[in-house]
């Protein structure tokens, strides 16, 4: 395979890893706990900024040749910026959840989230001292680049491996939640909050838990992305990006981690990547503009005709005593309503 193709394929795989991780986080919030988080992308952005700033080192004043201003710069060794990104994503979720999840019902909650997303973009753009305003951050050093000392294509594959390792860890986390009694209780809260509360479930606490976990995962996905592309600006996380992830979760099968992975493969990667191979037609920028329209249409078509997605939430069966373990619950597709 030519080096150019290797670059292309490894890049697509890394993007896929980032999108799969992000979609798992959103699925935990939306698919499992029923939280309509239209601000999901800001948690990814917060993680990306955190990882960038903690890798870049302290900002240099402009008179010393510094070309970007930001707060809290530090030079931390590799895994720490990513862990900090998860922490910041989770903390931001705790703050946003504190006023949006505790007090509001889901339709209002969705509106508040959308507004939060717009405010966050506006703040990051206009408070130049915070994360360098509209220009964003650039030249973020690649993690472990000096240590592993590989050729550029070698490093690409190294980073791909790193992404896979992180994705496996995140999968473990979401699987542990969704396959346990905790996941069942979260799905109960999603289906009927009042009834769950009447059975002794702390609905607010459970919703906050799912929201914060989703925030942590989004933050980590942002950290991988920024360490790979080395740059991050408000244009990277406009609110429509959230809807790409929502579409991926809905198309793949909300509530099913495997389905969501397929959704991430289909929507942000296959679907949007395919447009790269369409010959240019019409005025410049037409294909980019059509992408958003197509994502929207895709979400609508699925919500109308296949609301449970390509690989729907699994029906859980429980083995009868005596044949325990002998019968693996089959993946059966059915309609709950």
């Amino acid at each position: 395979m030519s080096v150019a193709w290797q670059f292309y394929i490894s890049t697509v795989l890394i993007y896929l890893g980032v999108d799969v991780i992000a979609c798992w986080g959103l699925n935990l919030q939306f698919g499992v706990a029923g939280l309509v988080n239209f601000a999901y992308i800001i948690f990814q952005a917060a993680g990306a900024y955190t990882a960038a700033v903690l890798t870049l080192g302290p900002a240099k004043p402009a008179r010393l040749g510094g070309f970007q201003q930001y707060i809290g710069g530090a030079h931390l060794p590799f895994p720490l910026p990513m862990l900090a990104a998860g922490l910041v994503g989770g903390l931001l979720a705790a703050v946003v959840g504190g006023f949006a999840i505790r007090r509001l019902r889901s339709d209002y909650e969705a509106m508040v989230m959308l507004v939060v997303s717009l405010i966050a973009t506006s703040v990051a753009t206009n408070q130049v001292g915070l994360v360098n305003g509209p220009n964003g951050l650039a030249l973020v050093p690649k993690p472990l680049a000096s240590l592993v000392n590989l050729s550029p294509i070698g490093y690409q594959w190294f980073f791909t491996g790193l992404t896979v390792v992180i994705a496996v860890c995140v999968y473990w986390l979401v699987h542990v939640v969704t396959s346990s009694p905790l996941g069942r209780t979260l799905r109960a809260v999603r289906d009927n909050e009042q009834a769950a509360a009447a059975l002794g479930k702390n609905v607010t606490g459970l919703r906050m838990l799912a929201f914060v976990l989703g925030g942590v995962i989004a933050g980590i996905s942002g950290a991988i992305l920024v360490e790979f592309i080395s740059a991050w600006s408000p244009g990277s996380w406009l609110y429509p990006e959230t809807f790409v992830y929502f579409t991926a979760v809905i198309v793949g099968g909300s509530g099913n981690n495997f389905g969501v992975m397929v959704g991430a493969l289909l929507v942000p990667v296959a679907f949007l990547e395919a447009t790269r191979f369409i010959p240019q037609f019409g005025p410049p920028g037409l294909i980019d503009a059509l992408q958003w329209i197509i994502v929207g249409v895709l979400a609508l078509v699925f919500l109308w005709f296949w609301p449970r997605g390509v690989i729907p939430e699994r029906r859980r069966r429980f083995p009868v005593a005596g044949e325990a373990g002998a019968r693996r619950s089959p993946l059966r597709i059915g309609t709950p309503r």
């Binding site: 209780t185 059975l199 429980f318």
Partner: protein
């Protein structure tokens, strides 16, 4: 009202306004252990509001709810439930995308693996506990003749089956006092009789219940004592025969 000796639940001088309307206006009564207490009255009498206040779904504007000598007024609904006061809803409130079995498992209190840390310990930590809960759920299903629907999504059940599931789920939560909001609303007469039989059996086993019900014939067969509410107050209580002969009760039902 002074607290009657041996009462499980005591409600005293409860008030609740909705924008100037006094839905509950000084209601006081006591619920004895081991029996089905009926709460009746014409539409708008405040029965459901009282039930909602006891269950923690609404806060009273004044008054107290005492359960086994403990003041539980204004506690959050989930904390009330953890005290053993479990309610069912007038409109079926199944977890639609969960199976019947899962609906029951969710209701079990103090499950292993229901917190993040316990879930992170893995299946090995909670598997045995879960298996015991599954067994208990199966026993309940066979008692209520619902075994065939174990793996069915609750959202696909018939209206009558949903009422049974509502009751089963309440029982799965190990209630000390079951609060029933019209448990037979909208079901056919033969299923209503079956539910009635189940309630009678449960009372026979010593489970205390407080039931809001419109069908007076059912109340007469099941409930003792009966509490009659009208316009947010308790206007009469005693056996069904007592309250039937009460002129105020007759007036309330006739005038509405």
């Amino acid at each position: 009202m002074s607290e009657p000796a041996g009462a499980l639940l005591t409600v005293s001088d409860l008030h609740r306004e909705f924008g100037g309307v006094h839905a509950v206006n000084g209601a006081s009564f006591a619920v004895p252990p081991g029996r089905i207490t009926g709460l009746i009255g014409p539409n708008g009498a405040g029965k459901s509001t009282v039930l909602n206040i006891i269950a923690g779904a609404l806060r009273p504007s004044a008054g107290t709810v005492t359960y086994r000598g403990q003041d539980i007024t204004g506690l959050a609904a989930y904390k009330v439930a953890r005290h053993g006061l479990v309610r069912t809803f007038q409109v079926s409130s199944e977890f639609a995308a969960l199976t019947v079995m899962e609906n029951l498992l969710v209701a079990a209190p103090a499950q292993r693996g229901e917190t993040l840390w316990q879930a992170a310990l893995g299946k090995r930590y909670w598997k045995a506990h879960e298996r015991a809960t599954v067994e208990r759920a199966r026993q309940l299903m066979s008692r209520f003749d619902m075994s065939a629907a174990e793996d069915e999504y609750a959202g696909n059940l018939s209206g009558g089956q949903k009422r049974l599931l509502e009751l089963m789920r309440g029982l799965m939560a190990n209630p000390a006092l079951l609060l029933l909001d019209e448990p037979m609303a909208g079901v056919n007469p033969s299923l209503a009789r079956r539910i009635e039989g189940h309630l009678e059996d449960l009372a026979g086993e010593g489970l205390a219940m407080l039931m809001v019900e419109h069908e007076l014939a059912v109340v007469e067969r099941l409930c003792d004592p009966v509490i009659v509410m009208a316009q947010g107050r308790v206007i009469s209580q005693g056996t069904m025969a007592d309250v039937r002969s009460d002129q105020e009760v007759l007036d309330a039902y006739l005038i509405g």
